[in-house]
């Protein structure tokens, strides 16, 4: 089954602005950290500025945000180094073993009575089953 498309567009600039303010950073401070011009960051926040993949992932790394923080409703928890390690370990497994792990997680969650309450970072994996 195909992954459910929960993709959002054109929110990135607004979210960058929100996150910058949450982190109490001025445009000058953030643009300096990112190695870009303040005027470019301003246009990015207004959705007028397209960036390279390098710049996009530099911004995400700067805020250390999860998918959910960046796009509300997709996930609720920040990705911690442990989460990253888990994902990397999972990705290193063969496809068959990955499916076994997913089934095991689904089993454990059903035992805990934690039925799917909303989308989270594993949503795409589950939807793909």
């Amino acid at each position: 089954m195909a992954a459910e498309k929960i993709r959002q567009v054109q929110l990135v600039g607004r979210k960058i602005r929100e996150l910058r303010k949450e982190h109490k950073l001025t445009q000058v401070e953030l643009s300096s950290r990112l190695g870009i011009q303040q005027s470019d960051l301003s246009r990015m926040e207004k959705g007028e500025y397209r960036v390279s993949l390098d710049t996009l992932f530099r911004i995400l790394a700067e805020f250390k945000v999860s998918i959910g923080e960046f796009f509300e409703g997709v996930a609720k928890e920040s990705i911690t180094p442990r989460d990253v390690q888990l994902v990397q370990s999972f990705n290193a497994l063969s496809e068959d073993v990955q499916r076994e792990v997913e089934e095991f997680i689904a089993f454990k969650r059903s035992k805990e009575g934690r039925h799917e309450a909303g989308p989270d970072t594993t949503r795409a994996w589950e939807a793909d089953e």
């Binding site: 990135v12 246009r43 992932f57 390690q85 795409a124």
Partner: protein, 297 residues
Amino acid sequence: MNGAVTFEELKSRGEKAVRAGHLEEAQDLFDQALTWAREQGEQPQVDLGICNRAAVVIEMGRGDGEVPHLREILVRNVDPFICQLAAYNISRHYELTKNYKKSLFYARIALERAGVLGRRDWLASSHNLIGNTLLAESFIVEACREYEKALEYAPQEPTAARGQILDNLGYCRVLQGRHREGYRLLYESLRILKRCGAQRYEISVRLDLCFAHLETSRLRLSHRHGIAALALAEAMEDQASIKNALYLLGEVAHLSDDVEAARGYFGRLHRDFFPDAGYLPEFLLAVDIRKLVNLHA
């Protein structure tokens, strides 16, 4: 055969190789020409030799050491011909290293010198370069004006340079939602670049066609161009293009409901280029960043 003749011959063959996009061959020829010039002790030829050699080295992404020599020539030499070459090459280096404001500064010097010389081909390349810096900074309308001027000045014959301008303008048209015009320009660019055998430049237009077809939901065609771009980029070890190809192919796969393939491409993007971004594959599966990404930045 005297030194000057040999220099001219080598230079001419090097320029021909550049026009065909055969940069390694061009560098070898320009190296030989520079050696000849130094042996003859002719400073104008040495400066020209340095500029020619720098042009191909910069184009291959190894231009860090060239800029000081070019800047020195630009300051010392008053010949508009040499100054245009030096300024253009410095600008191109800054473009490739993504320092667009410096690139624009030197591109304007190159344009001004090209105007003094009245060289239409150099006016074309300078306008194209200014367009590149503007496009990289998302000034799409302004970039289009520069590319249109570049096309006016560019020789009509099918050269790799003309193919590149067509590619750049075509990509802008796609970004502007003028898909029909974009396709016409991009396919004309592809035809020219293929005819010239300029595979290094073909990568960009393949990526742009992949993006254009993605934007108009022609996923099979998008996939085809993305795969071709990836293969060429890998063969040329063009890391920036490999990154863009993996991202676009992931998008194509995802929109084709092939999540495993999408995860494969995004996973490789993460492993090979953004190893610290463990969230990347899931992020790209969850978020459509097409409206944010600039393939020419």
